[in-house]
């Protein structure tokens, strides 16, 4: 037995004991934060020491420390924020940082623009068909059906139509997020109770009044659900679409080429960026939800 492996085992047992002890304390905000944190750190430590202990080759699984070094060394090549007052707008340079350039290409240009267009179009469609039960009855099953399909397979077609640039990635994202968002919004707009509808009727409220004052607020939790599901889909769509063709920049491009060159530390660094971007994106939408639908039972708990 070598020391790294024994160390990993001991660390694991100690951390687990600590977590068991912490979980049996009175639950506070601190323990709720501490326990998963300790668990996460334990995983990283075990990973690091097991990789070292078993002398796993870096082309198979690099230790976290190596990934971290790669991450930092790449980000250290970030260009500074260049304020070009003479030319007008403030520009942000990625310098020689590949991670940054990939992030801008895939997340900002591909995923975000597709997300906004797709969710926006779905929302508008849902409101537009709100007054037609016929269209709703028709579109809801179709939308549910399409939402379960492997839409990501549309990627090669869209790359063919819109070229290798970020536009085709945005198009993939639009199609991926459209149906889940549509289905959620349509369902949400039907989420009022019979009593709430009757109340609006006793007020002889007009259609726009009903829409603004009852249906949309009542639909908000559903709409946020669609928005949250779509954050993950958007990032997946933008990355995977790059496997079908991309310029020489982008997270999906980098992952597939660096895997081919067996420099897995770079791949993992990309995954770290994707994980941070994905969680942050989701987190922002979740915070927005908390701020605006604080009244919903699921948010009060």
């Amino acid at each position: 037995m070598n020391l790294y492996l024994i160390g990993a085992l001991v660390f694991w047992l100690a951390a687990w004991a600590l977590n068991v002890w912490l979980s049996n304390l009175k639950p506070t905000r601190l323990t709720k934060l501490l326990v998963p944190l300790i668990f996460g750190i334990t995983l990283l430590v075990i990973w690091e020491w097991v990789v070292r202990g078993l002398e796993v080759k870096a082309v198979l699984l690099p230790p976290p420390s190596m990934i971290w070094e790669r991450f930092i060394s790449d980000l250290s090549q970030l260009g500074f924020i260049q304020m070009v007052f003479a030319d007008g707008p403030i520009s942000f340079g990625c310098g020689n940082s590949k991670l940054c350039a990939d992030f801008v290409q895939t997340f900002i240009k591909g995923a975000l623009s597709g997300y906004f267009i797709g969710c926006g179009a779905a929302f508008v469609t849902a409101v537009a068909i709100d007054r037609s039960p016929f269209l709703q009855k028709g579109l809801l099953p179709v939308g549910n059906f399409v939402a379960a399909l492997p839409i990501i397979g549309m990627a090669p077609i869209l790359v063919m139509w819109f070229g290798f640039g970020w536009q085709s990635k945005a198009a993939v994202v639009v199609i991926m997020v459209f149906f889940p968002m549509l289905v959620n919004t349509v369902q949400g707009m039907q989420a009022q109770t019979a009593m709430q509808r009757d109340l609006m009727r006793t007020y002889a409220a007009s259609y726009p009044q009903k829409l603004l004052k009852l249906r949309l607020p009542a639909a908000a939790p559903f709409i946020y659900n669609g928005l949250k599901i779509s954050t993950t889909l958007a990032l997946i769509g933008a990355i995977v679409a790059e496997f079908f063709g991309s310029p020489t920049v982008g997270m999906g491009f980098r992952i597939s080429t660096e895997v081919g060159r067996l420099s897995l530390d770079m791949v993992w660094a990309e995954i770290v960026v994707a994980a941070i971007a994905g969680s942050a994106f989701y987190g922002v939408v979740a915070l927005l939800e908390k701020a605006t639908t604080f009244w919903h039972p699921s948010q009060r708990g």
């Binding site: 709430q196 009542a218 639908t293």
Partner: protein, 259 residues
């Protein structure tokens, strides 16, 4: 003639269901005068709620005629002639208490300062002043129901339709709200149609008690109350009160015997 608020003649309503037609209302005749407090009492399925919903144009009768303020129920609804209080408070959780009371005022296009004034006034009427900026889920069930009454009072409707508004509340809260409702009625001089399944509640509140029976839903007795308009809670122990309650119970039993 102008004193008549609701006038129903041979009113019928039949629901078509998978198990055949259900006669929710059959040949109901009733007149409600201005300033009346009318209770509808009867076992479940006797059509009392359906009757109220017909007045509110939430259901369409299948026979007979009914007028509200001399108009059809639909015209009355479009003129916003009544305030409706449902079984549950049904406040919007995303609006504050003040916001909920403002809702009908916004829809009906009242001016901003008018809205502020009215919200303040009705909150005082139901003794909820100070709770304007609280959210419904921060209030007790009784307070929520008071807010929903305030919501129905906030605009200029002389008619209040109340569908078992206190049904889900406990006895003590209910007594208290009954007392307040009588005060409100005296202060605002509104006409109230009130559905309940509690005999003491009906007798305590009403100037007129309509006893109904089920299958088919129809009126079996209309009792004009002889109690004075001023009613302290302990009037419920008076002989007069018990006599009226007895008559209501007899009416209910008679309706049940037919079944």
């Amino acid at each position: 003639m102008s004193d008549i608020v609701i006038e129903a003649k041979k009113l019928s309503l039949t629901f078509e269901t998978n198990d055949g037609p259900v006669h929710a209302l059959q040949d109901v005749d009733l007149t409600i005068n201005k300033g009346d407090f009318v209770s509808f009492i009867g076992p479940s399925g006797c059509g009392k709620t359906t009757f109220l919903r017909v007045m509110a144009d939430l259901e369409q009768p299948t026979g007979g005629s009914i007028t509200v303020n001399g108009m059809s129920p639909e015209e009355a609804r479009l003129k916003r002639a009544y305030g409706y209080v449902f079984q549950a408070a049904g406040l919007y959780p995303w609006r504050t208490i003040g916001g909920n009371i403002r809702l009908p005022l916004e829809i009906m296009g009242y001016s901003k300062e008018n809205r502020v004034r009215r919200v303040k006034k009705v909150l005082e009427l139901v003794h909820l002043d100070g709770f304007e900026n609280k959210f419904p889920w921060q209030l007790s069930g009784g307070m929520q129901q008071r807010a929903s009454i305030a919501r129905a009072l906030s605009f200029d409707a002389d008619l209040m339709l109340m569908d078992e508004p206190f049904g889900a509340l406990d006895e003590i809260v209910r007594d208290h709200l009954n007392e307040q409702l009588l005060e409100l009625w005296a202060e605002t001089n509104k006409t109230i149609a009130f559905v309940t399944h509690s005999i003491p509640e009906a007798v305590y509140l009403s100037t007129k008690i309509v006893v109904m029976s089920p299958r088919p839903g129809r009126v079996t007795d209309v009792i004009e109350s002889t109690l004075p308009r001023e009613r302290p809670l302990d009037i419920r122990e008076s002989q007069e009160f018990l006599d009226i309650a007895h008559r209501v119970r007899e009416g209910l039993r008679a309706g049940h015997g037919d079944d």
